[in-house]
């Protein structure tokens, strides 16, 4: 039996080898943090700088992420053509696992992929939840808090980079 799989827009994420670079704020990546935050700020609905200001102030950053998602420039690494096909291999693989869930990985610009993936994922959760969920309010708060902590640490990496 073949299953008809609903198509979701591919979600960009960096490969695992890129995560230590981001976490350590190594020079090129530190610049990417700045670029990613600036990119979000530039396309923000209320003008440049708002995203960074609100992240720095720890206020409503997730709403800002959601508002700006549709306005972000296209990511060449996340086009549909780059999504591997599935169901053609005898043995499954990490690539097939990513393809099943619609994940596209790029190590060329890992921070941008990371920020875009984060924002897209949060928006998807919000939209899908409108179609029914049993989750109680504390669970929603935990999801939000997780995303929020995630955004904040990215801002902190950038900030620590600036201090150094």
């Amino acid at each position: 039996m073949w299953i008809s799989v609903p198509q979701l827009k591919p979600i960009p994420l960096p490969g695992s080898e890129a995560l230590p670079w981001i976490a350590r704020g190594e020079a090129p990546v530190r610049e990417s943090v700045e670029v990613a935050l600036d990119q979000l700020a530039e396309v923000g609905p209320s003008g440049p700088g708002e995203f960074r200001d609100r992240v720095d102030k720890n206020e409503q950053m997730l709403e800002v992420l959601e508002d700006t998602l549709d306005l972000l420039p296209a990511d060449s690494g996340a086009s549909r053509e780059n999504v591997p096909s599935i169901g053609n291999e005898e043995e499954s693989s990490p690539e097939e696992y990513d393809a099943y869930f619609g994940v596209v990985r790029s190590n060329n610009d890992p921070l941008t992929s990371h920020v875009r993936g984060l924002a897209q994922s949060y928006r998807e959760v919000l939209l899908d939840a409108r179609h029914g969920t049993n989750m109680a309010p504390p669970d929603w708060l935990m999801i939000r808090r997780g995303f929020s902590a995630h955004v904040n640490q990215l801002a902190r990496i950038a900030k620590e980079g600036r201090i150094e």
């Binding site: 799989v5 499954s92 696992y97 099943y100 994922s121 998807e124 997780g146 902590a149 995630h150």
Partner: protein, 192 residues
């Protein structure tokens, strides 16, 4: 008794399954970022940054635990009828399972590497460490909860044979895995 809203069935169950997993992946990456920062900060003796990073990791893991429950928030019969077959041949190759997740594998390896760091953690970080361990355990418990919701107390995992667990129910296999993983982040000073 849990009530399932009817309108969830208007949506393709695979959408919830995928959206939830994608949230889980991005949060796994967030946790990995935080733990890399924690590891570097401890090595450099920068304890305030280490504390912040450990707290970040805990918050993200608690979010991922909630994302897991969100993922599994669909009727068990739809899991059996739609989700399970979609993850089996011919829709995917043999051996398809969460063990193939790049993000999950990275986090698993990272926490193994951090075992010695947790074993020798400065006392100033003990409170943050205890909180992180609790968050990590919540993440494991959420995974187990979803597994049991979908028959994991009776049915063997699709990978049970591969990992030498024979016909053991998936829930038992997961419990054993999780006990080992929690031990990695517990540390000898706060060992249970």
């Amino acid at each position: 008794m849990t009530t399932v809203p009817e309108n969830i069935q208007e949506r393709h169950p695979l959408t919830r399954w995928k959206v939830g997993h994608r949230a889980f992946f991005s949060q796994m990456q967030g946790a990995a970022l935080a733990l890399h920062r924690f590891q570097d900060a401890v090595e450099q003796g920068r304890l305030q940054i280490a504390r912040n990073a450990l707290e970040d990791a805990g918050h993200v893991l608690e979010g991922s635990a909630a994302a897991f429950r969100f993922t599994g928030d669909l009727p068990p019969r739809l899991y059996k009828q739609v989700i399970l077959p979609s993850m089996a041949p011919p829709n995917v190759g043999e051996g398809f399972s969460g063990l193939l997740s790049t993000d999950h594998d990275h986090l698993r390896t990272l926490t193994q590497d951090l075992k010695s760091t947790f074993d020798t953690l400065p006392s100033e970080l003990r409170r943050a460490h205890e909180r992180f361990r609790w968050s990590y355990e919540q993440c494991m418990r959420s995974h187990l909860f979803v597994c049991l919701e979908f028959g994991g107390d009776e049915r063997a995992s699709v990978r049970s044979e591969d990992v030498g667990s024979g016909d053991l129910p998936a829930g038992d296999v997961l419990s054993n895995f999780f006990a080992n993983r929690i031990a990695n982040v517990t540390g000898s000073e706060t060992g249970t």
